[in-house]
Symmetry: C3
């Protein structure tokens, strides 16, 4: 009976450790290359398949901003799927402004953030891990 | 009156949070492509415009070492402006040595660090966020 | 004599600071370009020459997976040397599976990890610094 109790405690502690091990990932993509973007979405799927409760925010800026526009993105289906699974899709407002792109062109799944680099740095400061896509 | 006091406390706490939110960013650039270097300096400007008290250190190494030499860099004006605004310009000594570049050729705004990767890793250990330029 | 004691304490404290400053680096490489891989191994050597007790884990994934296969890698000698010096060589299982590569082809020095991104994020969560190779 004591052994059973001990086992129970160990299982509980392990569960606690597993809960703690939830990852939070802020992902940067600035590449306009659709091959790189395709890899990004495959990696997001791989992560969410292995660890479904991973928090993910993808920050699109620079040439990658076109991936989150209604009329230019190649990966709307992948973005919608990721968005449904809780992935935050962030679009850099500076990248929009410097290209004279109206906010109306941004897909509804995306959240507009003022400055991509500050968004990524802030998330790291709050303990998120950083991944730089190709 | 109580409500006013509460509002005052909330405002004070928010101000405190804003002060805490100062970012520290260690930026790595190893690309010798001047297009990538131009993007870097534009991003630094964007960050300092939005959050002027952000601490920034840019570590130039590999092919990017030529950006911080007196006779080869394309962006001396941008570097001088960044330096005046408090941005630390770091040049990797290993990158100099492996190319037989004398330290005399390094611009005066730059600080020479022994090993770029250890500089970047050390800053992260001390709580700085990391950004990898193109 | 008092001065000698003080010096001794200062030396001890400095040694303590040096011990605390040990870096832990998780390195990501996804490039299949052997020029990028050559730079990676040179950087690892630079780091271990300057700070021999640095903990390093290199995560090979994407196109870089071929660097850790018995029949396709160009840098077995460098990998063996790094491995002997304590560098963890990690190979992403998802990268193997998506290319139908049998685990038998992976070099014995490599440790297979399920999902590269989760490995890298987990190490960062545990306080390791992150370096993204070219």
């Amino acid at each position: 009976m004591q052994k059973l109790k001990l086992l129970f405690v160990v299982v509980l502690l392990s569960a606690g450790a597993a809960i703690k091990a939830q990852e939070k990932i802020v992902w940067e993509i600035s590449s306009g290359d659709t091959a790189h973007q395709r890899i990004l979405f495959r990696q997001i799927n791989n992560v969410l398949t292995a660890a479904p409760d991973t928090k993910i925010e993808v920050v699109f800026h620079g040439f990658a901003i076109f991936a989150v526009l209604k009329d230019t993105g190649y990966f709307h289906q992948q973005i919608q799927q990721a968005h449904k699974r809780g992935v935050i899709i962030a679009a850099c407002n500076n990248s929009l402004k410097s290209r004279n792109i109206s906010k109306d062109r941004v897909i509804p799944e995306a959240t507009i953030v003022p400055v991509s680099i500050l968004e990524i740095a802030g998330k790291q400061r709050e303990g998120w891990s950083y991944i730089k896509a190709e």
